[in-house]
């Protein structure tokens, strides 16, 4: 069973309907890409590549498949390809400092983490586990749906979710301790 937060499957809609359905998924795709990659430009590149591919392959979209599942699968494949493509060019990968400048930091309260802290923490989780906890925990997908998108068995997905959360928990603890230190300084 899949959870459908984003409307019904695209049965019997025309091209325009499909296009509209795709556009409706953009916010979720962007959030997922950004959480996956941290760097805003890299994330929007990924979303854009995904949209390009989606629009050029509208015919491949099986009626009955939710637009979300189809698009996230496309994007996952591009993300995996992108790891290879990035090798060809020297680029700003993390942009940690650039982003820091743009983001207003939360006041130095003890152990309070802001968006940047959370994005940084996610980067420290291995990408397989990161994808799993984001799809399930943030995008609200079922294990079956997330496993299909990532092209792995449900059991593997399950263990990636568990391990990913365990990793994240430890990383967040460290990040909070650092926050507290900063606040004390």
């Amino acid at each position: 069973m899949e959870k459908k937060r984003n409307g019904p499957a695209e049965a019997g809609r025309g091209m325009d309907g499909k296009r509209k359905a795709i556009v409706g998924e953009i916010p979720g795709l962007r959030r997922y890409a950004r959480a996956l990659l941290r760097d805003a430009d890299a994330a929007d590149d990924l979303v854009q590549d995904c949209l390009e591919r989606a629009f050029s392959r509208l015919d491949n979209w099986q009626t009955g498949t939710s637009p979300r599942r189809w698009l996230f699968t496309l994007m996952h494949n591009l993300f995996v390809d992108g790891v290879r493509a990035r090798k060809r060019r020297s680029e700003l990968v993390a942009g940690a400092k650039l982003d820091t400048q743009e983001v207003t930091r939360a006041p130095e309260q003890n152990g309070v983490l802001d968006l940047q802290d959370v994005l940084d923490a996610l980067q420290e989780v291995g990408s397989d586990r990161r994808a799993a906890i984001l799809l399930v925990g943030v995008e609200g997908m079922s294990y079956a749906e997330a496993a299909e998108i990532l092209g792995i068995p449900t059991g593997t997905l399950m263990s990636r979710v568990a391990r990913g959360r365990q990793d994240l928990r430890e990383i967040l603890d460290v990040a909070r301790r650092r926050r507290i230190l900063k606040a004390v300084e």
């Binding site: 959030r31 929007d44 400092k97 400048q101 420290e124 399950m158």
Partner: protein, 264 residues
């Protein structure tokens, strides 16, 4: 009475993610009542998930960049053509320039559209990769001072290089510190820390002086001789080099960066 299944930590995730059947859910709740440790863990995972959701929710409100918007509107009406690809590259470059402007001219005049780097930066990263090649391949004398003497090693290299160094703990990524050595770099001293994982892969962190005021984010350097992530900050260039997959190397660079930052 039916045989009840037993529960463990994994069920916390299943419950949290709505993957337990209603019957199991009731039994799970009963089990949880008897386990204070698991209740705490469950609460913790729920609050971590809430943190992710809340902080990432803000991303949805960020304005869609023009280039993505155009894609959404125009794509699909004709096949993906070269014209738009070119436009897209330009738009991406423009967006990059805007981002740079906003960030206060971090790379102003340096990070050109052709991806140019300053010669000085490439010199340092080249040195780092070369030093990695030479010493990572060494069998007997990989390091001058071994990790068993960690405090001495770090103190010595900090003094010679002239900044407070830390030898990052990379065990979380499977790499143990082997030790380090002092190296020459443009008439000054540079430090190299060498690490090894259980299968014998080696990576090194190289710290050398660079031009003050040239702060950068992470950059990837690659040529036939090796791969490295490097960044510059406050007059020092940091390079994490190794012949391991890019993503893994980036993880190690990240971990090093954070520890160096925390150690300052």
């Amino acid at each position: 009475m039916m045989t009840q299944r037993s529960f463990d930590e994994r069920d916390i995730h299943l419950a949290l993610d709505g993957e337990l059947s209603p019957e199991d859910m009731a039994a799970y709740q009963a089990w949880l009542e008897t386990r204070a440790d698991m209740r705490a863990l469950s609460a913790r995972y729920a609050s971590d998930r809430a943190l992710l959701r809340e902080t990432l929710a803000g991303l949805i409100d960020e304005e869609l960049p023009q280039r993505v918007r155009e894609e959404a509107i125009s794509a699909g009406r004709d096949p993906v053509g070269t014209r738009r690809t070119t436009l897209r590259r330009l738009a991406a470059a423009a967006a990059l320039l805007v981002a740079v402007g906003v960030a206060g001219g971090f790379w102003a005049g340096r990070q050109a559209l052709n991806g140019g780097e300053t010669p000085a930066a490439l010199d340092v990263v080249g040195e780092a990769v070369a030093a990695h090649q030479v010493y990572a391949a060494e069998k007997l004398h990989v390091v001058e001072v071994g990790a068993s003497d960690r405090n001495h090693l770090v103190g010595w290299l900090s003094n010679r290089v002239g900044t407070k160094l830390v030898a990052p703990d990379l065990r979380a990524e499977g790499f143990d510190l082997m030790g380090g050595r002092l190296l020459p770099s443009g008439g000054k001293a540079a430090a190299q820390f060498m690490y090894e994982d259980p299968v014998g892969e080696r990576i090194s962190l190289y710290v050398a002086h660079c031009v003050k005021g040239e702060n950068t984010g992470f950059r990837l350097f690659e040529d036939e001789s090796g791969r490295a992530f490097y960044w510059q900050e406050e007059g020092f260039a940091y390079t994490v080099a190794g012949s391991i997959p890019e993503e893994r190397l980036l993880g190690l660079a990240n971990l090093s960066y954070r520890q160096l930052l925390a150690g300052r």
